[in-house]
């Protein structure tokens, strides 16, 4: 997932990242398109500093293509169902910049830095611990989901097939039921591992990572 050695030349404070994530989320629907674009540029620069070339290229390509696409279709008459599909696609398009920022925040924030910065901000452990479990969970969900996708392909259940078109709900069910079962189990095991290693709401943690604003 993350790179072996991180480029420490430019590492944002976890608190800044958090602020960035909040701003990005807030801007998803309210801000004009120009600010969204700004957000994309900021996220891209940050990601490039982390040497995530592939992601940035792919993201830019999809985002710009989608932009031109929507510009092109907005004057066409495509009927009710077409409009619904288009509207939902547009929704995704507007969420994309926020996703890029979140991707940056999640892939570059170390768990212990995050814990330390939260406690520095006097946020209770009762809030932080569930939060980091969530962050820790994304890659796991991805891994599990891929394994399940493999199993489905072996059985001949594909996204683009007659069967899926006939019953898309069944497709989702096949994908989600085993995923839920396995991530519930993993979640339970993870929390067992955490509590047996002394993570609890009462004790105050220390942290080997130093988090200060270097320029202040």
């Amino acid at each position: 997932m993350t790179k072996q050695s991180r480029n420490l030349a430019f590492a944002l404070d976890p608190r800044t990242k958090l602020l960035l994530a909040v701003v990005a989320n807030g801007m998803v629907f309210t801000a004009p398109l120009f600010y969204s674009l700004l957000m994309v540029v900021v996220a891209s620069i940050l990601l490039l500093l982390e040497e995530k070339w592939k992601f940035v290229c792919a993201f830019f390509f999809v985002y710009l293509t989608a932009g031109f696409f929507f510009d092109f279709v907005k004057n066409l008459d495509i009927g009710t169902s077409g409009t619904i599909i288009l509207a939902s696609l547009f929704l995704m398009y507007r969420i994309m910049p926020a996703c890029a920022v979140l991707y940056y925040v999640i892939t570059t924030t170390k768990v212990n830095e995050f814990l330390a910065c939260m406690s520095r901000m006097h946020v209770s452990n009762k809030v932080t611990i569930p939060l980091i479990v969530m962050i820790r969970f994304f890659p796991t969900v991805y891994d599990e989901s891929r394994a399940i996708g493999n199993a489905m392909r072996m059985r001949g259940i594909r996204l683009f097939s007659l069967r899926t078109l006939k019953s898309p709900v069944a497709f989702l069910e096949y994908r989600l039921v085993p995923l839920l079962v396995s991530i519930t189990k993993i979640g339970d095991e993870l929390s067992i591992a955490a509590v047996t290693r002394g993570l609890s709401a009462e004790t105050k943690r220390t942290c080997i990572a130093t988090i200060v604003f270097p320029n202040l």
Partner: protein, 502 residues
């Protein structure tokens, strides 16, 4: 620090009527290394949870009796306090990491205990040296192999300096080489005067380390031996209790049992074994083989993960695929089954019909009933045939149950049934016996033999020499993405054990 369990009864439900532990007493002296063995579901994992405080603090249930750690009752301590004296390592390397990189993971326990950052750094440095982890520093947890993860887990627990270590089936997902590393870690703890409690099916690697093996049955300590005592009683005796063998070199005789134990269930096991054709008979029948060519795969052009020109699998036989972690076994399985590789390889896989039974079968059970599961991949759907397949795998009575409600072994058989129904002639198994006791292993072995006698060709990735000797007819060994040797098992048993232990 000594551990004493006094008159412990425990049940995961509200009443003690169906207790998993019944009036159990166990004294573990300071500095002792004790192995808890027994069949699955006998309550040995529950004992480990009592020691590391998960019972009564995490799992709910009804408990009677006291657990004392160095004279202190665990029910009066909090989990955080217990974690200062007890370090725990679990079975599944995938789910015991809280951080995403190794450095943070090593420091995690110490940070939780609120130690001084400078001291933590010192401690982490010490364990890194002690466990030789220099090459693992700064790595992402997701890029580590199972064995490396287990090492990091042990080291990070060790960093907090607990007096007691509790390990719950730590070897279940490891190959024989990393098990040797694990053994070294355990003996290092023992030398440092720590108390070690290990719940384990595989006993052989603890032969020289353990002071005592406690056999748990029906919620009580039924027997206790020194490792040498149990070994002297011979593999048949261990098998009759459902235990894995103590000495890999003695395995040969387990495969072809001459003398039989007197216990009832050992008889039923050997009955099971006799029901199907013994391995040697099948091997002697000359059958043709399936040939694969051009099995290559790489992420980077210069570093092929898999590089096999020619692979020959004997038809209707069970072939074991061995090799250390990272040798490319799983990649081979995925390429064979069309889950990785070029579109040409994928198309070939689809044509010949290859099915993979994953290590975690939960991933491949999708539907709401066992029957639906079998019907799903069938073309055209034929309920009668599906029921026949289920009957062949002793699953007919569960046809309308939800697959997720079944036991592990039953789930595995459902997955096999769905593979058969999709018309696959070749079935690949990814470690079907990891973490199983002797009896469960025999059951899996019986299922596989039955599949092979019905004409399917089986390739089994495994680290379990007992299983291979029990069920396979030939062996393929891989190293660095290549096949280094392939030989029939009959007459080469010594070679196999040697290659696996090396």
């Amino acid at each position: 620090m000594n551990i004493s369990l006094k008159n412990i009864s425990f049940s995961y439900s509200d009443s003690l009527d169906d207790a998993i532990l019944k009036n159990l007493n166990l004294e573990i002296r300071s500095g002792e290394c004790v192995v808890l063995a027994g069949e699955s579901g006998c309550g040995k994992t529950t004992i480990s949870k009592l020691i590391n405080g998960l019972i009564p603090h995490y799992h709910s249930g009804t408990m009677d009796g006291d657990v004392l750690l160095g004279g202190k009752n665990t029910s009066d301590m909090t989990l955080a306090e217990i974690s200062r004296v007890v370090g725990s390592v679990f079975q599944n390397p995938r789910s015991q990491f809280f951080n995403i990189d190794t450095d943070c993971e090593l420091a995690f326990g110490c940070e939780n205990l609120g130690m001084d950052p400078e001291e933590i750094k010192q401690r982490v440095e010490n364990v890194v040296q002690e466990f030789h982890l220099e090459h693992l520093l700064g790595r992402s947890i997701f890029n580590l192999s199972g064995g490396e993860k287990q090492k990091i887990a042990c080291a990070s627990v060790s960093a907090t300096g607990p007096e007691i270590f509790v390990l719950d089936e730590p070897s279940a997902n490891l190959d024989l080489k990393t098990i040797a590393d694990l053994k070294e870690i355990v003996s290092r703890w023992k030398k440092a005067g720590k108390t070690v409690v290990i719940v384990e099916h595989r006993l052989y690697y603890l032969r020289d380390v353990a002071d005592r093996i406690c056999y748990v049955k029906d919620g009580q300590i039924a027997e206790e031996w020194m490792p040498a005592e149990l070994e002297a009683k011979g593999p048949e005796y261990a098998a009759s209790l459902g235990l894995r063998c103590m000495n890999l070199e003695m395995l040969n005789s387990v495969c072809h049992p001459g003398a039989e134990g007197d216990r009832i269930h050992y008889l039923s096991c050997s009955q099971l074994r006799r029901d199907y054709q013994p391995c040697d008979d099948i091997a002697s029948e000359a059958k043709q083989s399936i040939i694969f060519s051009n099995l290559t795969f790489s992420y980077h052009r210069k570093h092929p993960i898999l590089d096999i020109d020619h692979l020959e699998l004997p038809c209707g036989q069970i072939t074991a695929l061995i090799g250390h972690n990272g040798a490319g076994k799983s990649t081979l399985a995925q390429v064979l089954c069309g889950l990785q590789g070029s579109w040409r390889q994928k198309r070939a896989a689809r044509k010949r019909g290859t099915y993979l039974i994953m290590q975690d079968v939960n991933h491949q059970l999708f539907t709401e009933s066992v029957l639906d599961e079998v019907l799903l991949g069938m073309k055209p759907q034929n309920e009668k045939l599906a029921l026949e397949i289920l009957d062949g795998l002793n699953l007919k009575q569960y046809a309308n149950e939800h697959p997720m409600a079944l036991s592990g072994g039953q789930k595995q058989r459902v997955a096999i049934a769905s593979g058969i129904s999709s018309g696959s002639e070749i079935v690949v198994f990814d470690e079907p016996t990891s973490g199983l006791d002797y009896r469960q292993m025999l059951a899996v072995s019986a299922t596989l033999k039955k599949l092979a006698t019905s004409g399917k060709t089986l390739l089994v990735i495994t680290h379990d020499p007992e299983f291979i000797l029990n069920s396979c007819q030939s062996v393929i060994r891989m190293e660095r993405g290549k096949i280094v040797e392939q030989y029939p098992l009959l007459g080469n048993e010594k070679q196999l054990v040697k290659a696996m232990v090396k």
